[in-house]
C-alpha cells in the first residue's frame, strides 16, 4: 500500500476540482480537507485492487454536497446577487449561474458530468460509481451537459 502522502500528491488536484465544481474556493478548501481526512481514516482498510482515484472522487463529491448544505443552513449577510447580474464584461472564475445550474441537475446527471468532465474518469469508471452501465453513464453525462447548456444559456444575459 502506498504512503498516504503519495495518494495526496497524485490525486490532490482532481479532488479539489471536484469540490470546486459546486463550491467557492474557500469552501472547496474545506471540503478538500474533509475528503482527505475521511480517506485517511479508511485508507488502511481499502482493498488493494481498489480504484483509488474513483474512491476519492466519490468521497469528494459527497463532502462537497455536505458543504453546500452547511452553507445553505448558515445565515447569510445578504441574498446572492443573482437578481442583479453584473453587466461588466469580466465573468467570475466560476460562473455562478452555471454552478447553480449544475446543482439543479438530477443527481445521476450531475455526478456523471462531474466525474467524467471534471475528474476525468472514464465512462466505465463513472458507471461503476453511479451504479449504471457504461452506456447509461455516457447518456447521463450527455443529458447533463445538454440540460446545463439549456439552463445556462437561458440564465445568462447575452
Amino acid at each position: 500500500m502506498k504512503p498516504f502522502d503519495q495518494v495526496v500528491a497524485e490525486h490532490g488536484v482532481i479532488v479539489w476540482q471536484v469540490c470546486r465544481a459546486v463550491l467557492d474556493p474557500a469552501d472547496a478548501d474545506d471540503a478538500w480537507s474533509e475528503t482527505f481526512l475521511a480517506a485517511m481514516r479508511g485508507y488502511p482498510n481499502l482493498r488493494p485492487d481498489s480504484n483509488v482515484r474513483a474512491w476519492l472522487v466519490t468521497i469528494a463529491h459527497s463532502k462537497a454536497i455536505d458543504q453546500t448544505r452547511r452553507i445553505d443552513r448558515a445565515p447569510r449577510p445578504m441574498e446572492r446577487a443573482a437578481e442583479t447580474p453584473s453587466t461588466d464584461g469580466n465573468p467570475e472564475p466560476v460562473d455562478e449561474d452555471l454552478r447553480a445550474a449544475l446543482e439543479k441537475l438530477p443527481p445521476k446527471q450531475r455526478q456523471a458530468v462531474i466525474y467524467h468532465h471534471i475528474a476525468g474518469l472514464s465512462y466505465a469508471e463513472v458507471g461503476a460509481l453511479i451504479d449504471s452501465s457504461e452506456a447509461a453513464a455516457r447518456r447521463s453525462s450527455a443529458d447533463g451537459i445538454a440540460n446545463l447548456r439549456r439552463s445556462y444559456v437561458r440564465g445568462t444575459k447575452r
Binding site: 498516504f4 476540482q17 470546486r20 485517511m40 472564475p93 466560476v94 452555471l98
Partner: protein, 208 residues
C-alpha cells in the same frame, strides 16, 4: 458531433480558468491536512527531509518516537514505502512532529550536541540486532568500540558478523551511534552512509 470539444468552454467555466489549484495552494492544503490528521490521531508516521553535511536525510517519527533516519542513497521514496508496509500507510510530512529531532541533528552536525534527547521507537529491529543497538547507545560520544567488544557485550563474542549486520541495518543512524563501531585493527570498517561519512563523524566527535 464531438460533444467533448464543443463542451470544453462550458466545463472550463465550472472550475475556473486554470483547471484547478496552484502548486502553492496544494502545498498549503497538504500542510493543513497534516495538522488536522495529527490532531485527530490519524497521523501514524510523520516525516520531514533534513539538510545535513552528508546530504538530505529523511527523519520519520511515530507516536512512540523517532523510528527512522535514512540517507539519500537509501532512496527516500523506497524508505517511505517500507514504512508504509511495516508500520502504517498513514504517512504525511509534518514539521511539528519532527522539530525536536531536526534541530538536535543540526546541533550535532555543528559540533554543539553530544547526545540526543528524543524518544526512540525501535519496532523495526528485533532479536539480537536489537540487543546490539541497545548496547550501541551506551558507547560515549568521541569514543569507539570494536565489533568484537560489541559482540561480547551483546552476549555472543563470536557474533561479529551479526554485529556488523546489525550496524548496517541500523534504522536510526547518528542517534544510535553505529558509526562508533570500528575494526579491531583500527581501520574504520563499513558504514551504510559510506565510509567517508563514518570517518567524518568520528573526526567531528574527536575534535569537539
Amino acid at each position: 458531433m464531438n460533444t467533448d470539444d464543443r463542451d470544453l468552454p462550458l466545463i472550463k467555466g465550472l472550475v475556473g480558468g486554470p483547471l484547478g489549484p496552484s502548486t502553492a495552494d496544494v502545498d498549503r492544503l497538504r500542510a493543513r491536512l497534516a495538522e488536522r490528521a495529527d490532531a485527530e490521531g490519524l497521523l501514524d508516521v510523520a516525516y520531514r527531509i533534513v539538510d545535513s553535511p552528508f546530504g538530505a536525510l529523511l527523519v520519520a517519527t511515530t507516536t512512540d518516537g523517532l523510528v527512522r533516519v535514512a540517507f539519500e542513497r537509501e532512496v527516500h521514496d523506497t524508505v517511505l514505502a517500507n514504512l508504509a508496509s511495516k508500520i502504517s500507510p498513514r504517512i504525511l510530512p509534518s514539521d511539528r512532529r519532527t522539530d525536536d529531532i531536526a534541530s538536535q541533528l543540526d546541533e550535532y552536525f555543528a559540533g554543539n550536541r553530544r547526545s540526543f534527547d528524543v524518544p526512540l521507537d525501535l519496532r523495526l529491529v528485533v532479536g539480537f540486532r536489537r540487543t546490539v543497538l541497545c548496547h550501541l547507545r551506551e558507547i560515549a560520544y568521541g569514543t569507539t568500540e570494536s565489533y568484537v567488544t560489541v559482540a561480547t557485550a551483546a552476549g555472543n563474542p563470536k557474533a561479529m558478523r551479526a554485529v556488523g549486520s546489525a550496524c548496517s541495518h541500523n534504522p536510526i543512524p547518528f542517534v544510535i551511534p553505529c558509526h562508533r563501531v570500528v575494526r579491531s585493527d583500527g581501520s574504520i570498517g563499513q558504514y551504510l552512509g559510506g565510509p567517508e561519512v563514518k570517518a567524518a563523524l568520528l573526526a567531528l566527535e574527536a575534535a569537539t
